[in-house]
Symmetry: C2
Subunit: 331 residues, 2 copies
């Protein structure tokens, strides 16, 4: 199991802040969450509490070595369980909150269930942390959905939030509470307004779908919409660098950061890169319309200047990243 | 019972839109809600459904004549009751959603209860309306709290939301869903980003408190904070005009409007106006600090240009409005 966090830097910048602390990671069995477990594990924490309900096909596979070594204490719990969250976080002042219903289409078709997981669930985490003096909450928000169809692209963190999907609304709504809790109860909060994150261990998203479609029918590739939708795709290792840097800064109050690539890439270009990497000659078949699905933002691109000004820069190009990711799916 | 809506204009602009429709007003027994009932009643609706849990000392007094005439159907229900909301709104495509936990300090001290009422409650209303083809939701948001401590004053609707109280977070969070539901499910939504609204029937807020303190001890007036906190106070009749105008425009999608006075007024000035109106010579005693309470925004002032461009203008000055209001408290 490739440990990207360790490959990047086996002595993270945030180590001095994390060392000796109990740290919880919700959604720690999932794609981004399990990489964060790897990152935190490098920081000599007292204990890592992983909270995951193992929904959506996630397993213990990525964190198993840590469970065996005793570093990770695993709890199969749903973040909607307020009592469980309060118990698990009662002595855990640092939380990376990654657990979420991750699908925009699901949020559109099941708005209340999505709301209960992504808004009420996050509220349960905030409430559980309120017992601590100066807790840290790092939250996975979504730069690709919270701004909606922004008129200014790239879109910076001061731009108004006007989501067009419930997934985006949930992330934006939760940010409102990160803001108030930071002001009222001495929370440190970091909202990672993530672009479309991809890389090893991810089992959803356009690249994952394209790869599996091509394995099934290499001669043609169905592309939802017209393929012109453009998003800020970012390789997971660059996210880990951003998280490490932001936590190391020990920022006070509420802090929102776009974490995205400098340029957006169209779905069509991604298809070309994957087809090329697999040495195929697939015909592309577009389903038509300018959105992949209801609630899909046609062009999402975060302005990353705020994060760059702290010294961060994405190190992996989209074609390099896709190749590593697709290779990981092949193996 | 003074009917301000009727005094302003007994043939509202929004009549052609409302006429013949079933219209629900949550919080319709309260201050703003009951004035909206008066306004809607002038528009010849098929039926007005008033939903109110009669908490916080509200009674049926303001809507009793309409219940007797059969125009209003009253339901004592809590907006947290999702099943009841779905039933009551199943054939009611127009909702004025005023029901809320109204206190910033309560929201700070009881964050989860406030969240359940003001966020989950609003979500229940949105979900209930989703069965309709093209529903209208008019929502009482809060221009005085959702922007937090804005760096630009007056603050326009494009300014980012960064609330410092849970009350403000709840209103901002709900707006995120008004935005997504408008985009996804063909809702018309109007978010009234209200300043501090005052006038007859209001039984909370700084003017109400000052009046009652002065009745008890006329020789001195305790003022929370340093009295320099400035807010956009707006007389209720001017709110009714704004609501009437906005509904009459039959706007599509999500629409946020600051509804506030052109200038903000300090708490200290309000104290002076009331002391003067009551012909008292009270000493003012400040409790100190620059906020009235935790989560209090020191200077909140909405930029009203967007609403003014539709033809609205506040017609009542602060001193005129306060006099009418205090006189109503005396009678």
């Amino acid at each position: 199991m490739t440990n990207l966090a360790k490959q990047i830097n086996d002595s993270p910048l945030m180590r001095s802040y994390i060392e000796g602390k109990r740290v919880a990671i919700t959604g720690g069995c999932g794609f981004i969450g399990s990489h964060i477990v790897d990152l935190v594990a490098l920081c000599n924490p007292e204990k890592i509490i992983v909270i995951d309900d193992l929904s959506a096909g996630t397993t213990l596979i990525f964190i198993e070595p840590y469970i065996e070594s005793g570093l990770v204490e695993f709890h199969q719990k749903d973040i909607r369980d307020k009592v469980a969250m309060a118990q698990l976080l009662a002595s855990t002042p640092v939380v990376f909150h990654l657990a979420a219903q991750p699908s925009v289409p699901f949020s559109v078709n099941n708005p209340y269930e999505d709301f209960m997981i992504n808004v009420v669930g996050t509220q349960n985490i905030l409430e559980a942390l309120r017992v601590h003096e100066n807790p840290l909450l790092v939250f996975a928000a979504s730069g690709g959905t919270i701004y909606g169809e922004a008129e200014i692209i790239p879109t910076d963190e001061k731009y108004k939030l006007e989501p067009i999907s419930n997934y985006g609304a949930a992330k934006a709504a939760s940010e409102m509470y990160l803001s108030s809790y930071s002001s009222l109860y001495n929370f440190r909060t970091i909202s990672l307004r993530l672009g479309n994150i991809y890389g090893p261990r991810s089992s959803h998203g356009v690249m994952y779908d394209f790869y599996h479609k091509l394995m099934k029918t290499p001669e043609s590739l169905e592309i939802l919409g017209d393929g012109q939708q453009k998003k800020s795709y970012l390789y997971i290792a660059d996210v880990l660098n951003a998280v490490d840097l932001l936590v190391s800064k020990e920022l006070n109050g509420f802090n929102a950061y776009n974490v995205a690539s400098r340029r957006s890439t169209s779905v069509n270009e991604i298809a070309d890169i994957i087809i090329d990497f697999l040495s195929l000659k697939s015909e592309k078949a577009f389903t038509g319309g300018n959105r992949g699905w209801k609630g899909d933002v046609i062009h999402a691109e975060g302005d990353i200047q705020k994060l760059v000004s702290l010294g961060w820069e994405a190190k992996t190009t989209i074609s390099e990243g896709i190749k590593v990711y697709i290779a990981s799916l092949q193996s």
